[in-house]
């Protein structure tokens, strides 16, 4: 883009107000875009339209009672937010979780990651103008939701995890279904690759676009797929393992700049596609290993939950590391709770990366960072 004339050279700029109601801001986010024709000089994100004081609510209700609220932290992949809260409180109360519950948490986390990436990748393709991949991805998400529904009765906000375990055990029939989904999903990923990932126009649009170098990614605190796409090989599941991730084998896909530069938008897309494959791999292993655990032992229900002290749990959510920090003062409520989410940090880098891009590229950049509005504002 360097050969193009920048807006501030001409001295005439148009201020575009993109959002909070705009088809491709992925929720109620607003961007103040300064453009000269098609070329932006800057896009400034304006957040706060979806703030619900979730962290404050955590101080007002009991540890168990806060679980449904965590669904709303990231309603596209609610399982991981459940997990983060449960893990933090368990760490605070020094509770042991039965292995069956850990496996169930991992299965639901990974299925949640798959369904979240379905939205991310489908919406990204749609923002680039290809509409067909979106229903394809949504179809797969529906299968995941069917599984979730059978497990916990909800399709979007699950409230599945409990302090000390999970709410319901899986049945053998559910296990068969989950395995069938894995068998079904793997060729679908290949099909998705043929459909859009290696599409000529798609690559032209995304390769070398909004390149985030490894250093930039680190300094802006990017996490998860966004960080890995920039070439930083870091995954909480592997580097700070929780649950049973030490017992499963999986690879951490890292951006390699196959179509352009390491850390470009196409890499961010491709990393997520690869994560689909790895997630299926993890789900398969979990479904295999969970058979060794006794049935029915899925919830180590705490008799008395009045912990004191502080604890930090780190979970690899769909949008990267989700950390939950909770301080207890010996009461039934948390004294303070705090969520650290991936989208908020990703939001920060948009202003830097939007300089000199075109309006159409801004949409691609937002989509490639997989920003979800509730995660930013909470």
């Amino acid at each position: 883009m360097s050969e193009l004339i920048f807006a501030y050279d001409s001295g005439e700029e148009m201020t575009l107000n993109m959002g909070p109601q705009h088809p491709s801001t992925h929720g109620v986010i607003r961007f103040i875009v300064k453009t000269d024709g098609e070329i932006m000089s800057e896009a400034e994100p304006d957040v706060g339209y979806l703030h619900r004081s979730i962290e404050n609510i955590a101080e007002k209700c009991t540890y168990e009672g806060f679980m449904p609220y965590t669904d709303r932290v990231d309603y596209v992949a609610a399982m991981t937010a459940n997990h983060a809260w449960a893990a933090a409180v368990e760490k605070l109360a020094d509770l042991a979780v039965p292995p069956r519950a850990e496996y169930l948490r991992m299965i639901t986390d990974e299925l949640g990651r798959i369904s979240s990436h379905c939205i991310a990748l489908g919406a990204m393709a749609m923002d680039i103008g290809a509409i067909t991949p979106f229903p394809y991805a949504l179809r797969e998400r529906e299968y995941c939701n069917d599984l979730f529904e059978e497990l916990c009765g909800a399709r979007l906000t699950f409230n599945y995890h409990r302090i000390g375990g999970v709410g319901w055990d899986m049945t053998d029939a559910w296990r068969d279904k989950a395995l069938r989904f894995c068998d079904h999903f793997e060729p679908v990923v290949d099909e998705f690759d043929r459909l859009i990932t290696h599409n000529e126009i798609f690559i032209k649009r995304l390769a070398n676009l909004a390149v985030i170098s490894g250093d930039e990614a680190k300094s802006y605190g990017l996490v998860g797929p966004n960080l890995r796409a920039s070439g930083i090989d870091f995954d909480v599941r592997r580097d700070h393992p929780y649950s049973m991730y030490t017992k499963t084998k999986f690879e951490v896909p890292v951006g390699r700049g196959r179509m352009g530069t390491v850390g470009d938008s196409w890499d961010r897309f491709w990393v997520r596609v690869e994560e689909w494959r790895q997630s299926v791999r993890i789900v398969r292993q979990c479904l295999e290993q969970i058979q060794d655990t006794p049935k029915g032992e899925f919830w180590n229900k705490p008799k008395r939950l009045k912990p004191k002290g502080d604890a930090l749990a780190r979970i690899e959510a769909a949008r990267g590391e989700m950390a939950c920090y909770v301080v207890g003062d010996g009461g039934t409520n948390a004294y303070r709770a705090r969520f650290r989410t991936g989208s908020f940090n990703a939001m920060g880098i948009i202003r830097l990366k939007s300089r000199g891009l075109m309006v159409a590229d801004l949409v691609a950049l937002i989509a490639s960072l997989d920003i979800v509005a509730p995660e930013i504002d909470r």
Binding site: A125, G129, A130, T132, H184, P187, V188, F202, V359
Partner: protein, 739 residues
């Protein structure tokens, strides 16, 4: 062929001063039956009122079969009006000699017999005259109707009718005065009840026609008062002492055989028209008035009205057609996205467009307060007009065309530009930044892509030597190796250049930047609502048809049927038993699938039936010889295929970025199209007299690019299918996971 002639003419224009030829010019370029061929000479070249013949000597080309170019002579009866003007009628007899649509280029001679000696005056060999004798068309039909109407008005005014008989034109139904005296002589008394019967009226000199005109109650009785009040004076013909049964010999010194020619004599501007009639073996001169004859203006209106009627015939199906394409697109996209698509309104959702349209009409029509109200309201109309004007020249079949303009292609390119104006206007007048961005993108995009599209189309014009759509179709053939697409590598490239550019001009994916919903909300039509908004998508969808129709006409042989010449199509007739059978079969297929679907419980069979009906009707039409209907269906079939390809592209590809789109146009398509254009002129120059080379190249192109590419494509599709779900059982995708 034509390229060579034009070049010769050009060279002639640049040449040195040659002695002026006695025949200077021939007008007009295109002739219908009933027109006059006007031959202009140098002053004093012709002997006035000497027996004259006009001889056309040169190349005769049947546009349908380019191979049938031949040298020949044609003699027409002419008459020297002045010493520098000779007229020749192109009447039915001349047409019988010509036999349909012909193009002539060559020299024109005027042969006169003066004092027993034949004088042959010719046009210069350097000035070649081109004539195009038009085929029967809707336009010509309308023209003939107008002519008849004009004739009957004139004859009515003169108070006579003319009947062609073997002896000549016979005067009939002379309108005479109701002679009260003659009536009294006959009946010797006034009728007591004041009523005159038909028999009585005849005796009073009233013709049957006039009696019927007065007899408004149709009771065969009129009153005396009515008879006296009716056209009290006799017709001018009767006043000039013409009688029933007279034979018209000549009008204005020109022998006439038809009522047409008789009426034509009233086109000049003098007070009277001298005529000669034959009565009982002797020739009697008479003088008829000319001043006060019915003026021409209403005829123009009639012609306009007829053209509008024909236009409506072509345009009325456009609304439903847009609706059909909308529903079809939604169904195809549903299938491609593993959805069902619309299936609620009407049979299998095929009336969804109607519901959508009604919804849009009853929505509030909102004009933003800050918008420019006039431009805002004008914009949809311009889009509508710009698109629908293209239907004037689309040759949907040999006859179903509003007007076969000889500048058809240029016309097409120019009227589509109105859509750009509309989009820019809408984008600007909305006073919204999103709409403005959309309008700007659109302006840049459409204006840029118009260049490669135009040059690609002009390449075809170069190959054909004509801009007329019908001529372009007739210059091709029914079988694929006769299509322009396979005539040369350049034409093949031009097809794709045009198709890509047309997608860009029509704002279709992958060039749908002006209305990119994920970027610009809705682009230039963001602020529109209600029916004003509805017009934009409608125009877009009808545009699919127009793009496909133009591509079909120019590259894919149009309505041409394999191995059926246009003469056969012309001869087969429209309203024949065979056409009716074909129509019934088509409806039958439709009804059968509907019934079968309801019985078996698979109503979606109906959708298949709609697309099954077309090939079935084609096969039967071809077999039964209902070529006119079949050629129409052929055109529809080709267009439908292309429309499907466009829909297919839309639901497959992502969108270009604005700079990538511009790069594609300016860096690749425009240079390529100009290279094709230049190469095609050279190609036409080199191969115009080598039919064998032409045929050979066409066959090789057809085998390599047509069959070969199709085979490659099919192999790829099969491979992909195998990868996903066919044959490869161990990796079969299960789409009925849980149900």
């Amino acid at each position: 062929m034509r390229g060579g002639w034009s070049l010769l003419i050009l060279l002639a224009g640049c040449g040195g001063a040659a002695p002026p030829a006695p025949v200077r010019d021939v007008r007009p370029d295109a002739l219908n039956v009933g027109d006059k061929l006007v031959v202009e000479g140098t002053p004093g070249a012709f002997a006035a009122s000497a027996p004259t013949k006009v001889v056309l000597d040169g190349y005769w080309v049947r546009p349908a079969k380019r191979a049938h170019t031949e040298l020949g002579r044609l003699e027409l009866d002419g008459r020297a009006v002045t010493s520098e003007l000779v007229l020749a009628d192109i009447d039915d007899q001349a047409e019988a000699k010509l036999g349909g649509h012909l193009e002539f280029s060559g020299r024109v001679h005027v042969v006169q017999t003066v004092a027993g000696q034949a004088r042959d005056l010719a046009s210069s060999s350097k000035v070649l005259v081109r004539l195009d004798l038009l085929p029967r068309s809707l336009h010509r039909f309308a023209f003939e109707l107008v002519k008849q109407h004009k004739e009957s008005r004139l004859l009515d005014w003169l108070g006579l009718s003319l009947a062609p008989t073997p002896q000549g034109l016979m005067v009939r139904n002379l309108r005479t005065e109701f002679k009260w005296g003659a009536f009294m002589d006959k009946y010797d008394r006034p009728p007591l009840d004041n009523k005159i019967t038909l028999a009585e009226a005849r005796a009073g000199g009233l013709s049957d026609q006039d009696f019927r005109a007065i007899d408004r109650n149709h009771d065969q009785v009129i009153t005396r008062h009515e008879a006296e009040a009716y056209e009290h004076a006799a017709g001018f013909a009767a006043q000039a002492d013409l009688r029933e049964g007279d034979l018209v010999v000549s009008v204005d010194g020109v022998p006439v055989r038809t009522a047409d020619a008789f009426a034509a004599a009233w086109e000049k501007d003098t007070a009277t028209v001298p005529i000669v009639v034959a009565r009982g073996g002797q020739q009697i001169p008479a003088v008829l008035p000319r001043h006060g004859a019915p003026a021409d203006l209403p005829d123009g209106f009639l012609l306009g009205g007829l053209l509008i009627a024909v236009g409506l015939l072509v345009l009325l199906p456009v609304g439903p057609m847009a609706g059909f394409i909308v529903v079809w697109e939604r169904k195809v996209s549903g299938r491609m996205q593993s959805r069902i698509g619309p299936n609620r309104v009407g049979p299998q959702g095929w009336l969804q467009w109607l519901a959508d349209g009604i919804k849009l009409i009853i929505k509030e029509d909102l004009v933003p307060a800050e918008a420019d109200p006039i431009l805002f309201k004008l914009s949809p109309f311009l889009a509508f007009i710009g698109l629908f004007l293209t239907f004037v020249v689309l040759p949907i079949s040999q006859y179903l065309q509003v007007a076969d303009l000889n500048i058809g292609l240029l016309y097409l390119l120019s009227v589509t530009s109105l859509v750009v104006v509309s989009i820019i206007m809408g984008g600007w007048a909305s006073n919204s930044k999103w709409a403005l961005l959309g309008g700007m993108r659109s302006a840049a995009q459409i204006i840029s892509y118009e260049l490669p599209a135009s040059v690609a189309l002009l390449t075809v014009a170069t190959m054909t030597g004509s801009l007329s759509m019908q001529t372009i179709v007739r210059n091709q053939g029914g079988a694929p190796w006769h299509w322009n697409l396979f005539k040369s590598p350049m034409a093949f490239a031009c097809f794709f250049i045009y198709f890509i550019s047309a997608l860009a001009e029509g704002n279709r994916t992958p060039f749908d930047l002006p209305e990119a919903e994920s970027e610009l909300v809705s682009g230039y039509n963001t602020e529109y609502s209600g029916f004003r908004f509805g017009i934009f998508p409608m125009v877009e969808w009808v545009n699919l048809f127009v793009i496909s129709a133009v591509a079909t006409t120019l590259f894919l042989g149009g309505w041409y049927l394999p191995h059926i010449s246009p003469q056969q199509v012309e001869a087969s007739g429209l309203l024949t038993q065979a056409s009716l059978i074909v129509l019934v079969i088509g409806i039958g297929v439709f009804v059968a699938t509907f019934l079968l679907g309801s019985i078996v419980g698979k109503p979606e069979l109906l959708t298949m039936g709609i697309f099954l009906a077309l090939p079935v009707m084609l096969i039967f039409g071809y077999a039964l010889g209902a070529y006119q209907v079949t050629s129409l269906l052929m055109f529809v079939a080709k267009v439908t295929t292309l429309v499907f390809v466009i829909i297919w592209i839309r639901w497959t590809l992502p969108r270009f970025r604005v700079d990538q789109m511009m790069n594609l146009c300016w860096k690749y398509l425009i240079p390529l199209s100009f290279a094709c254009f230049v190469a095609t002129t050279a190609w036409v120059w080199a191969t115009e007299r080598q039919p064998l080379v032409q045929a050979g190249v066409a066959w090789i192109m057809f085998l390599v690019f047509g069959v070969g590419l199709l085979a490659l494509f099919s192999a790829k599709v099969l491979r992909n299918l195998r990868k996903v779900r066919l044959l490869n059982v161990d990796k079969q995708v299960d789409f009925n996971l849980f149900y």
